[in-house]
Every structure is written in structure tokens, then in C-alpha cells.
């Protein structure tokens, strides 16, 4: 069973993503801020990471950079959850080391299919 790390501070979104992924047969690991995201990623070595950009402590971009900076997280697919409003989020995400991005709001009908392109 593939394991997916979801770094997301919003409980509702976390719940939605977790629900969808579990229904699709994935094991979900959670982190609610950047620091724990980096820690969990290095410790658990997930098969994929879904990274929200807006996080309470360090943002998703910095978190991604730190994960990429570690030995364990150098080549794990990281999918950024970007906000439509924020100018340059997608580019910044790719620059920071993300493999791809999914723009919020999440569409349950296409979400899993998009994830699976990177697995």
C-alpha cells in the first residue's frame, strides 16, 4: 500500500483529501505545519507528498526545499496545492522543487487521477 504524506493545516481540507485518498486505497500520513512536514517526510519516507503552500510556520515552498535538501526527500514526488489568487505560486512551487501542482479547490472527481500521474 502506497503511503502519501499530506502537509495541510486546514482540518477540513485535510479531512477531504484524506477521505478521498483512503477511499482510493492509499495510506495517509499527516503533518499540520512545515517543520513537522519536513520531519515526517524524512522519517516516514512516503511515496508522495501533497504540500499545501500556505502553512502557519514555514510555508510550503521552504518546507519543500528542506525536504529536497535531505537525503531521504531528494526524489520523492511533491505535489503542491496552489491558490489561484497568489501570483507566481505555481512557478515558485516548481522552482522550490515540487514535481507538480494541483490548484485548489480540489475536484474529487479528478483529484486521484492527477495524483496518480506522479506515482
Amino acid at each position: 500500500m502506497k503511503r502519501i504524506l499530506v502537509v495541510e493545516d486546514n482540518e477540513t481540507n485535510l479531512y477531504l483529501i484524506r477521505f478521498i485518498l483512503k477511499k482510493s486505497g492509499y495510506e495517509v500520513i499527516e503533518a499540520r505545519d512545515g517543520a513537522s512536514g519536513v520531519e515526517t517526510a524524512i522519517k516516514e519516507k512516503p511515496d508522495l507528498i501533497i504540500m499545501d503552500i500556505q502553512l502557519p510556520d514555514i510555508d510550503g515552498l521552504e518546507t519543500t526545499k528542506r525536504i529536497r535538501g535531505s537525503e531521504a526527500g531528494s526524489d520523492v514526488p511533491i505535489i503542491a496545492l496552489t491558490s489561484y489568487a497568489m501570483t507566481g505560486d505555481r512557478e515558485k512551487a516548481l522552482d522550490a522543487g515540487c514535481t507538480g501542482y494541483i490548484e485548489k479547490p480540489i475536484n474529487p472527481e479528478t483529484f486521484v487521477a492527477e495524483i496518480e500521474k506522479y506515482l
Binding site: N10, T12, N13, L16, F19, I20, K23, Q54, S83, Y84, A85, M86, T87, G88, R90, E91, K104, P105, I106, N107, P108, E109
Partner: protein
Amino acid sequence: MKIFNKRFRFGLRTKFISVAVIITLFMAGMLILFFITQQRTILTEELKKRGIALTRNLAYNCEYGVITEDEVILGQLIEGIKKHQDISYAVVFNKEGKVLAASSEESIFQQFPGNDGLRSNEEQIQYHVFEETGPVFDITVPIVIQEEIKLEDEDWFIGDRQGKDISTGKAKYGEKAAIGLARVGISLKNTNAAINRNRNISISAIAFISIASGIIFSVLLVMIVIRPLHKFSQGADAIGKGDFNYHLDINSSDEIGVLAESFNAMTKELKEKNEMLEKASKELREYSESLEKIVKLRTHELEGKTIDLENEVAVRKQTEKKVRTEKAYIDQLFESAQEAIVMTDKDGRMLRVNSEFIRLFDYTIDEVLGSSLDDLIAPQEYHDNAVSVTKKVSDGEKVAFEAVRQRKDGTLLNVSVLASPIIVDGELVAVYGIYRDITALKRAEKALEERSKELAEANIRLKELDRLKSMFIASMSHELRTPLNSIIGFTGIILQGLVGEINEEQRKQLALVKNSANHLLALINDVIDVSKIEADQIELVIEEYDLADLIQEVNDSFKVAVDEKGLKLSLEMPERLTIKSDERRTKQVFMNLVSNAVKFTDRGEIVIKVAKKDERVEISVRDTGIGIEKKTMNKLFKAFSRIYTKDTLKEGTGLGLYISRKMANLLGGELSAKSEFGKGSKFTFTLPLKYKEEQRNEKDTGS
């Protein structure tokens, strides 16, 4: 020549003879005059003395006859004296003046000489010309008693032989009175006749002598002078005709002979000179001929030169005109320039200024010319600087700077100055200074600086505001959409049946929730796009992708909606169409067009065509919908302009086409529309195959 000679010959002879005769005549005349005068004097004196002697003799002899008044004796005495030659008359008076005896009856001789009677006892002699006798000496001698006569002089009888006036040699008769007077007239007739005869003879003789001497002189003259002269004349004629061999044959030892020798020598010399002259003349002729040739040659050359010269003159005139024209240009430029221009010598003394200079610094032309530029217009604190600039320019440097200068009245001016040297053949001849009054500019600059400062401050505040706005949008986006994410997400999950079975009514209602949420999301997204466009914060992601895939995907996504409305959707496009652009923005524009077409078309068809044209791709979406009224056509691409139709109010933000056109422009493309109201519309979206940065209207801030 000949005439001259003749005239000369005759003239000379005539003159010589005339002079000789005149001199002879004059001298003879003088001699005749002298001799005649001498003769007349001698003869007249002799006559006078003879008369006096006869009269004294008469008076002596009459003593007795008078005393006795014996007229017979006296008459005999008168007769006796009358017999003497030349005696015209003889009269004897007593002392009362009574005629005692007379030779003639004429009363004139019987008058007693002197009115006062016989008062004087002196002898008298007078010259008279009487009608009866002609010229006479009238001699009177007193008659005295003889014993009482005392002779003072022995020869008183004879008189003065020296020819002095006889009357001075007087006989003294003492104190005794005369007893009578003897009067005798002795005629000059014979004497004068003799004198005249002598004179005629003398004149004849002298005339003869004169003529003879004239002839002799003439002959001699011809022999001695005229003939040689004639030879000279002939010689001169011959020489005149060119006969230099003429030899003058005169061998006299006088001046003529010397002259002839000189003449011959001269002829010889002339001959030599003539020969030399002929030789020289020949040479000269030859030289002249060669000279003529040279002259002809030179003339020919000169004609050529003249043409060259004419051409050169023409060129020079043209050049002069050009120079004048250029000078006029420069003068005009100099005078009409809006800058104050001054020309100085290398020491900074002003040579020329234009009228703007006079106007700007308010000096008169007389005050300016010859003055030092720096002394005149550089204020004290700028003077050293001005002098150093003058020095630099004098060293051949061109200097541009800004400075402060002063007017005559001391007011200060900000000026920009361009000082440049005028160098001719490496030598500095003058310096040009061009002054532009930038006082107003400086003031404006200062104001601008202040304004800029204000603006910079305002800009800082604006940037802060902008940052706040961006933060606000980000926050709004996040905060508004987070709940929407949940709504959309969970309705999706339920509708998918992931949670469990739902009935039809629940499905229908949840679908409405989901649609409304999506619409709300679209609204929020549009508002965010507009704010980004207006803040110029649209960020493009340029990459290569297949447009055909994108079109197909969008086309497919509308299939359900099209089917539901019973419309026909057709698509024409190449199989693959790789372009380099922003995929997401291209999709946004295209989706907007198809979405509108579906929204506003109730029956008929929607035709999508994609075609490559040169370096661009053209995407057109045509529908058979309600169309657009002409009056609203111009509002079509404006923000917040919604198309209201009579019966339908379609949902939408009114921002779609506004955003689409802006996006199309940002991608370097265009978006245009054509429509026939009631029949349908056609939207055409073109964009370059390869996006180029400069094709964007505005720059990405990239924040």
C-alpha cells in the same frame, strides 16, 4: 629739303648783303652828315666873319659921312660895299635912327633895329629870313668917333678862329655913344647852294661805294661760305637718301674746312653705324620672326589658358557665392539663435555677440565689444571658475557646463554654457561661447525635485498600499475559497457516491449546491483576475505544448452541456499544433469563448475552427445564438458589462470577455468579435505560435 636749301641759300645771302649794305649806308650817312655839318659850320662862320669885317669897315669909313650927314659919300660907300659878293643890303643910320644911306628901298631894311634908339653901342648879328633876300645874317655895327676907339684885342677884326660865337668877341667902344649905325645883310644863298651841291655829290659817291661793296661782299660770301654750305647740303641730302659713301671735297683751313672734316668723319661713322644697324636690323627681323612664331604659339596656349581661366573664374565665382551663402546661413543662424552667442579672442575679449546675448545680459553692444567676457558677466564667486574655463578652451578644449552669470543690473542667471575653440590650421583664432538661460529650467528642476521627492514618498506609500492590496487579495482568495473548497469537495464526494447511496432528489439538490459553489468560485476567480490585470500582476508561464490537445480537452468538457441543449458542436483543426505560450491562459480564453457560445445558443450549432496562419494561430468560435446588438458591440469587451437580453438573464460576472481580451493581448494576440443580431456571433482569437517577451504590453513584476 631742296626747298629748305634754296630758301636757306638765298636767305643767307640776302641777309648777309642786307646787313652789309645797311651798315655801309648807315656809316656813309653818318659820315655825310658829319662832313656836311662841318662844312656848313665852316662856310657859315666864314660868311659871318666876312660880313662883320665888311660892316666894321663900312662903319669906320662912314664916320665922316655921318658926322657930316653927307649922303653922297655914304651912298658911294654903300655902293662900294654892295659890290662885294653875297651882300644883300647895306644901310647907314644916324644916332636918331634916321636912314642916311641905303642900298635898297625896302622899308624893312630901313627900320632902325631896336625900338629904343641907338642906346647900345654893341655889335649885333642876327639870323633872318626875309622874303626879299632869303636867309641872311643881319649885322649891325655902331659908328663912333675913331680916335676914341680902344682895341682890347689885337685881332678883334678877324674874330675868334675857334668858331666860337662871334658876338662874344666884342669890340669895346668905351663910354662914348655911337653917332650912327651901319647895317649890312649878307646872304646865305650862295653858301647854302654850295653846301647842297657838296651833299649831293657825297651821297652819290657813298651810294655807289655801298652798292659796289655789297656786290663784292656778296660774291665773296658765295665763294667762301655759300658754296661749301651747298656742298654740305648736297652731302646731307645724299646721306639722307642713304649714300654713306659721299665725301665732302673741301680743303680749306678755316672753320668750314674743320666742319667738312667733321662732316666726313661723321659720314664715315654713320656708314659704320648704318652697317651695324642693318646687321642689327636683320638680326632683329629674324628674332622678330621667331618671336612672332613664339607669340603665335603662346597665344594659342594662352587661348587655352584663357578658357581654363574662365572656367576657374566661373568655379571661383560659384565658390564665392557658396561662401557668401554659407556666411549668410551662419550669420542668420548666429543672429536668430535662441541662445546667447559670444565670440571672443583667446584672451576672452569679446569680438562679436548676437542680439540674444545683448537681450539676456542687458548690456549695450558698445559696453560688450572689446570687454573681457569673464569680467562682464561672471559674478565674483564664479569668476575664478570662468577664468579657468577660458584657459581650458584657449588650450583647445571644448567645455560644456552649467554656471551662474549675472546681468548688468546684478541679477543672477542660471546658464548652461558650451564653450568651444575655433581652430584654423592648428591655431586658435577665436572662442565661441553659447549661453542658454536655464534659470526657469533650474527653478522648474528644483520644483520637480521637490515634486519627485513628494512623489517618491507617495510612491512608497502606494507601494505599501499595493502590498496591502496584494495581501488582501491573497487573504481573500484563501479565506473565501477555503470554505468553497470544502463545499465543492464534499458535494463532489457525496455526488460520487463515495459516502453512500443518495436518492435522485438529494442528487439534484447537491448538484445545485455544487453549481452555485462553482459559480461563486468563478466569480471570485474573475475578480481576482481583474485585480491582477489592473495591478499588472498577471504572471505568464511560457512553455511548449500541443494546442490541439487543449482544444480537444475543452471541446470534450462541453459535450454534456451541448448535448443537453440539443446543439451540434463541430471542431476543425490540425492533428497536432505545438505552440509556445501560456497554456493555462490560452485555455482560459478559449473556454470563455466556448462557454459563451453554449450559454447564448439555444438551437443550431457551434463551430470551432483552428488554423495556422503564417506565424500565428487563429481560433474561431462561431455560433447560431442570439447575436449581439450593434449598439452594445462597443461595450462587449468592457469590464462589468453584461449582455442583457429581452427574455434571458444569463448568469455570469460580466468580466469574462474583458479578461479574455486582456489575456489575448498579454499573450501577444488579439480577440475580436463579429455578430449579426438574432443570427449568431463569431469570436476570433489569434495568438503567435511563439510567444515573445516584447509582444507583451506590460512587464511582469514577478513578485
